[in-house]
């Protein structure tokens, strides 16, 4: 039985047989061998020797593949970039391959969201088990959906991870329900993937801007978009990715600005003196935001210390939003010469965010209006790295986008309000800043994240539970914050190191700025 894509639809009963795999490798020998091996596993295989081609294929055949296997080194595009794209656009599990097994490479793969990293020469037995990644992802999706559904009656702004802010119990119930399910159910439940076309994405961005990134929430966006077939979950997960994209851009720009293009600057200074206390004034916020390898948010309001891996750019962003005159001009104009692969440039100049088009990334069109949102969640974005982004991947999965311009929107979206405190759990940003970040327990966490995706959710749950004890805070949380947490993927890296430096203190302070967030 063949569907329009020319692939038979996977039959849940025979899973994993019929698994639809896309193999991307510029080495013709490997491509042939892998194809043969996968066919022997009873999988359906398509091959590409160029990353571009693979992306086109994936976009054309929406929902035509279950998993992607790609080599890390390819001539037209870095495998890690492809990985990000696939994750962002199609949300498929991606396995990386390489003849190079150096830890740093593997790490990078994991950070970029690879669900596995295989070393060449690859044996057939390794390929036989790749279906586990597909299953795992589906399980998470179903969980997400359930979580979403369980809180439809709740207002968006208290909507949280797992749909349960107040107690981890509900989460456990969901988990239990899952456990009881037969595997078959999950296999046949295939979340239909929404392909975010340029038009659809534009509607999305328009809605987001209308609402204001800080106040945005999937429900509101959905209402504004008026796309009947789109579900709230679709929007929620897209929103999350959008934020990540923005944050990535943000981060890259800042890194550029602050470090003059030094990619892996070891920003590990944890000198408390540098951790700025964010006071109510916006300028303070600006001054205080410093690039830190550890992004720890503490409640900001004179007491807390906000140490973020954000660069001055962040400052300038805030500055721009709040009071352009205050921010030093140098800060504002971030000429980010984006990393080599990413030619987009985000220039912040007096509230203007422009982005050069990077022809390399087709997604650009989609995110044509990445404007103000960038600023808004600059803070949160930093931390929201659903798929890890190291500085090498300047283009966030979403890829370069067209012109980012909204000047006014910057202000609007951004409006950092002094009385709000940034109370977000912090993601241990170590990993984000540089590929060489010291990973003490991050590695372990990350491994846990990847391997035990369930735990990811629980961790977040705990995070939010602690917040839930402070009702005041909850209100001040932007919706966005919550939502972001929602669609956590196992690829969350480093972010699980939630650290609350100031404990309950943090919660007492008003939220500053928006989107600070825990991704």
């Amino acid at each position: 039985m063949m569907d329009s894509n020319g692939f038979s639809s996977p039959k849940p009963d025979s899973f994993p047989a019929g698994l639809r795999v896309l193999v991307v490798d510029d080495d013709p020998t490997w491509l042939k061998i892998l194809e043969k091996m996968l066919k022997k596993c009873s999988y359906e295989v398509m091959t590409c020797n160029l990353a571009r081609e693979a992306l086109d294929l994936l976009r054309e055949k929406k929902d035509g593949f279950d998993i992607v296997i790609s080599d890390v080194n390819m001539p037209d595009m870095d495998g890690f970039k492809l990985l990000e794209h696939v994750g962002l656009e199609m949300d498929l599990p991606v396995i990386m391959m390489s003849v190079d097994g150096e830890t740093s490479r593997v790490m990078k793969g994991v950070q970029h969201g690879a669900c596995d990293y295989l070393l060449k020469p690859i044996r057939m037995k390794e390929l036989r088990n790749i279906w586990q990644h597909v299953l795992r992802k589906r399980m998470h999706e179903v969980r997400d959906i359930e979580g979403h559904e369980s809180v439809t009656e709740q207002p968006d702004d208290v909507y949280l991870f797992g749909g349960d802010l107040n107690s981890g119990k509900k989460r456990k119930d969901v988990d239990n329900k899952h456990d009881e399910r037969a595997c078959g159910n999950l296999l046949s439940v295939k979340k239909s993937r929404v392909v975010w076309t340029v038009d659809l994405h534009q509607k999305f961005v328009k809605a987001v801007n209308q609402i204001g990134l800080s106040k945005v929430g999937p429900k509101k966006i959905l209402d504004l978009m008026e796309v009947p077939w789109l579900t709230r979950e679709n929007v929620a997960s897209h929103l999350q990715k959008y934020r990540l994209y923005l944050s990535r851009l943000q981060k890259e720009n800042e890194l550029k600005i602050v470090f003059g293009g030094v990619k892996n600057s070891a920003i590990t200074s944890k000198d408390p003196a540098e951790n700025v206390c964010l006071e109510n004034s916006d300028t303070q916020i600006h001054k205080n935001l410093m690039l830190k390898s550890d992004a720890k948010f503490c409640d900001v309001n004179g007491k807390g210390i906000l140490s973020m891996p954000m660069g001055d750019c962040m400052n300038s962003l805030f500055g721009n939003v709040e009071d352009a005159s205050k921010s030093a001009p140098s800060r504002i104009s971030c000429d980010s010469d984006v990393k080599s692969e990413h030619k987009n440039q985000v220039q912040y100049s007096s509230l203007q965010f422009k982005q050069e088009h990077n022809p390399q990334f087709q997604l650009e069109k989609q995110f044509d209006h990445m404007m103000s949102p960038i600023q808004v969640d600059s803070l949160e974005s930093i931390f929201n790295h659903n798929r890890i982004q190291t500085e090498d991947h300047s283009e966030s999965r979403s890829q370069g986008t067209g012109k980012v311009t909204k000047v006014e929107s910057v202000g609007a979206l951004f409006s950092v309000q002094p009385e709000r405190s940034i109370s977000c759990s912090t993601l241990n940003m170590k990993s984000h800043n540089s590929g060489q970040n010291p990973f003490d327990n991050t590695e372990r966490d990350q491994r846990n994240l990847i391997l035990e995706t369930g735990s990811t959710f629980r961790l977040w749950d705990e995070v939010f539970n602690s917040y839930s004890k402070e009702p005041g805070n909850i209100e001040s949380f932007g919706l966005s914050d919550r939502e972001l947490i929602y669609d956590l993927s196992p690829h969350l890296y480093g972010s699980l190191d939630v650290e609350y430096e100031y404990g309950s203190d943090t919660l007492e302070h008003p939220v500053i700025g928006r989107g600070l967030y825990i991704a």
Binding site: P28, T29, W30, I33, K36, S98, P121
Partner: protein, 149 residues
């Protein structure tokens, strides 16, 4: 004309020596296992692809090392590629030479790189020769009415 039995014995010994002398590693065995009735020429096809790809890579390497200003990064990329494809068919010696080659690239040791280029070409031609012999033997066995062991 040797009979199928003799040819088969020859073949077995020959292949065993290739493994024994380190020209081929287990990966080659994996390839042979992948061959089946549906794909009786699988190994030959893969090996041919490897030959084609390798010649290109070696040409690129030669050219790159002849440049006025040698781009070691580029060379490293080619060697990495060569290492990858050699690993695909189990051309162990070639692959090992690539490892050493990459070290020289990292050190930006031009002399070392040139020596490695020589070495890698040498190893490649040997294994190419061996594989062609093996394929020829297989054909002979089939022509003699036998089956490949």
């Amino acid at each position: 004309m040797e009979n199928a039995g003799q040819l088969r014995r020859q073949y077995v010994d020959f292949v065993a020596s290739l493994y024994h002398e380190g020209f081929l590693d287990d990966q080659f065995g994996q390839l042979q296992k992948l061959q089946d009735e549906g794909n009786p020429y699988f190994v030959v096809e893969v090996v041919s692809l490897y030959f084609e790809d390798s010649e290109k890579l070696m040409n690129n390497l030669t050219t790159a090392l002849q440049q006025h200003v040698v781009d070691f990064k580029q060379i490293d990329a080619h060697v990495h590629q060569f290492k990858g494809s050699s690993s695909s068919i189990g051309a162990q010696r070639v692959k090992n030479t690539c490892v050493v080659f990459r070290d020289y690239c990292e050190e930006k040791n031009l002399d070392g790189c040139l020596k490695c280029l020589q070495q890698v070409k040498h190893e490649y031609y040997i294994v190419k020769n061996k594989l062609e012999t093996m394929i020829r033997l297989e054909r002979q066995i089939l022509e003699a009415g036998g089956t490949i062991p």
